[in-house]
């Protein structure tokens, strides 16, 4: 029985079927390369649609490879049902035993393609890593951090972890700028100056609201904790905007004679 199945299996592979299989795989690869090139070219002409265009490729890749494999099995090899069941059974067992994690990541990748929690171009926080999603493969997700590091996270892990998505498919995202300021500054003037200074930054996306909150805090001395929230024009400019806004607020306060001694920190908010 086993010999018969094996013989039937071997008989499926002739020179012509092998050639057809290799051709199908090659055509799929070329098609995907062309699609990727076309999308990258489109992005270079229309950067404002970067995120929308970037999310097309991961889905197309899954679909095209699935279609190619389906075509090879059903259209080229055309195995009898007994072979299909036997192959699936043994392949499943072998793969399941040998590569549990890889299969887990692959399944997670397919689940993420079907129901995405983030897209290529989004700024996400996974564990201790915060950065822009630069690629979404079937088994891994790659992030580029502001320190210019590339972080690869297995998709299986991503499904288990809470994800904080800062822009959810949009180019702009909210950024928080936090400053610790002396309580000698009149609150109303501080708030007005902070809002006006944030509006002056060319990185700020003026179409969305800018807010400023001030709370008194105590840590050895009383101080004001100023939080200015504004949207950055492009997620990639998040740090530049945070720095620019903080500097502009400090300059404005200095110009008005309010600032003598300031300790400040700015921290981008991971939540949109």
């Amino acid at each position: 029985m086993e010999n018969t199945v094996l013989q039937q299996f071997v008989s499926l592979f002739s020179y012509s079927t092998l050639f057809a299989m290799v051709s199908t795989l090659a055509i799929t690869w070329v098609a995907l390369t062309l699609i990727q090139w076309a999308l990258e070219t489109l992005v270079s002409y229309q950067p404002r649609y970067r995120i929308q265009l970037s999310q097309i490729y991961p889905v197309l890749r899954v679909l095209l490879w699935t279609a190619a494999i389906f075509y090879i099995v059903i259209g080229i090899l055309q195995p009898p049902q007994s072979i299909i069941y036997a192959s699936l059974g043994s392949m499943g067992l072998a793969l399941g035993l040998a590569s549990q994690d890889a299969i887990k990541n692959l399944v997670a990748g397919v689940m993420m393609a079907v129901s995405p929690r983030f897209k290529v171009g989004d700024m996400i926080q996974v564990g201790n890593h915060y950065g822009e999603v630069i690629s979404l493969n079937l088994s891994t997700t790659k992030l580029k951090t502001f320190e210019d590091n590339q972080v690869t996270v297995p998709n299986g892990d991503i499904l288990k972890m809470p994800i904080s998505n800062a822009n959810s498919g949009e180019l702009n995202e909210q950024v928080s700028v936090e400053l610790h300021l002396p309580t000698s500054i009149p609150v109303a003037q501080l708030k007005a100056l902070a809002l006006a200074a944030a509006k002056c930054s060319h990185y700020v996306y003026l179409k969305k609201p800018i807010t400023a909150t001030i709370a008194p805090k105590f840590e050895r001395n009383f101080y004001y904790h100023l939080v200015v929230k504004a949207y950055v024009i492009d997620v990639r400019l998040e740090k530049a905007m945070a720095t620019d806004v903080a500097e502009r607020i400090i300059e404005a306060l200095s110009e008005e004679g309010f600032l003598t001694d300031t300790v400040f920190e700015n921290k981008p908010s991971p939540s949109a």
Partner: protein, 377 residues
């Protein structure tokens, strides 16, 4: 692979050559009538070089409503070069004919404080013993007979500086305080209008907001026919002027290439214009595209500069310095670089020494590019 559909560079007009065209021998050799016919600045109301546009009807409807006692104010925005100033002049001529009292406040320098606003408006509206306080100035405006006040070049009110809101607050107070008594029609370049609306909710101030669209192909054909008629042409490429404005016009390729931008159409015409063999006849060749490869080499800082220039209308070195927190020499170097590659012009305005503006001919192209690159929104 991209080279496959790259246009033949030999057939493109280099960007810097566009700037030099008006100093070139080719342009200088043209007759004064031709130069005057294809003038690309604002024109007076009854000028033969203008055409009637549907936006004039909107202005007339607004006037009628105001005359019927409705308390309204209106804003008109349009891309740079859509002819807002010419529209105001045309409407002014109509008002004169209808004997309606009107004034055009043409702002010609950046207003940076409340007193600047009072002075600019008080001067044009001939307010006697002009008050220095806004409330009193508004009372003075109310004591004037009802007037149609058209405000042109509102882009001079845009500024990305700390106390910029003072200027907008002053204009807002003036419009709100006198609305109904006077009819305010405020004209603003599209990008400046968006900036004012996003930053100060400026659009909420107006009961009517109207966007002046780019010229349609038919309008550009009519306009070019009017310009040829102005310089005494009888035929263009052997076709009569009546036929020029029709579908199968020899100017079709110019109209298509200019994409609704009048300055570009006028430039293409002049650049390809030669006298025909017959008297009063002209020959216009197919236009060459402008080479815009320079955009791709621009840095992020330069693109941000172009975006702010589009929103502000024009920028002096000092203003650029304030917006981008750079030194005077850094700002000058950057603006001069953009001017040398042909994207900017330097204004010879007495009030704004060393002020830079987007080159009018290509400003629509630059703005569209900046929008696609997400520097403008």
């Amino acid at each position: 692979m991209s080279a496959l559909w790259k246009k033949d560079e030999a057939n493109l007009i280099p960007l810097d050559q566009v700037s030099r065209f008006y100093q070139s021998d080719q342009y200088q050799s043209l007759d004064a009538e031709v130069k005057s016919a294809f003038f690309d600045g604002p024109l007076e109301g009854l000028d033969q070089r203008t055409i009637d546009r549907k936006d004039l009807q909107f202005m007339q409807d607004t006037l009628n409503s105001w005359q019927q006692g409705r308390s309204i104010s209106c804003a008109m925005s349009g891309e740079k070069g859509t002819g807002l100033s010419t529209l105001f002049n045309q409407f002014g001529a109509k008002l004169k004919h209808q004997q309606v009292k009107h004034k055009v406040v043409r702002i010609n320098k950046r207003l940076s404080s409340e007193s600047d606003v009072i002075f600019a408006f008080g001067n044009t509206l001939n307010v006697l013993d002009m008050a220095t306080e806004l409330d009193k100035f508004i009372e003075q405006l109310l004591s004037m007979p009802p007037t149609v006040i058209m405000v042109d070049n509102t882009h001079f009110m845009v500024q990305r500086t700390l106390h910029a809101h003072e200027v907008i607050d002053a204009l807002t107070a003036m419009i709100l305080g006198t609305r109904g008594h006077h009819l305010w029609i405020v004209g603003c370049e599209e990008q400046a209008w968006r900036r004012l609306s996003y930053s100060y909710q400026f659009e909420n101030l107006f009961s009517h907001v109207h966007t002046v669209a780019n010229f349609t192909e038919a309008e550009i054909k009519s306009l070019l026919a009017a310009r040829f008629a102005y310089c005494g042409a009888k035929t263009v490429n052997g076709v009569s002027l009546e036929q020029l404005a029709k579908d199968k016009s020899p100017l079709s390729s110019i109209v298509k290439k200019s994409k609704g931008c009048v300055e570009l159409a006028l430039f293409y015409c002049l650049n390809q214009l030669t006298h025909g063999l017959e008297p009063h006849s002209f020959q216009v060749n197919n236009p060459q595209d402008i080479e815009l490869g320079a955009f791709k080499k621009l840095t992020q800082h330069e693109l941000f500069t172009l975006a702010e220039l589009a929103a502000h209308g024009q920028l002096s070195i000092k203003e650029h310095q304030k917006i981008f927190r750079t030194t005077a020499s850094q700002s000058k170097r950057l603006l001069e670089h953009l001017r040398v590659i042909g994207l900017l012009d330097k204004t010879d305005d007495l009030h704004q020494q060393d002020a830079y503006v987007l080159k009018l001919i290509i400003s629509a192209v630059v703005v569209r590019y900046l929008i696609s690159m997400n520097y403008l929104y």
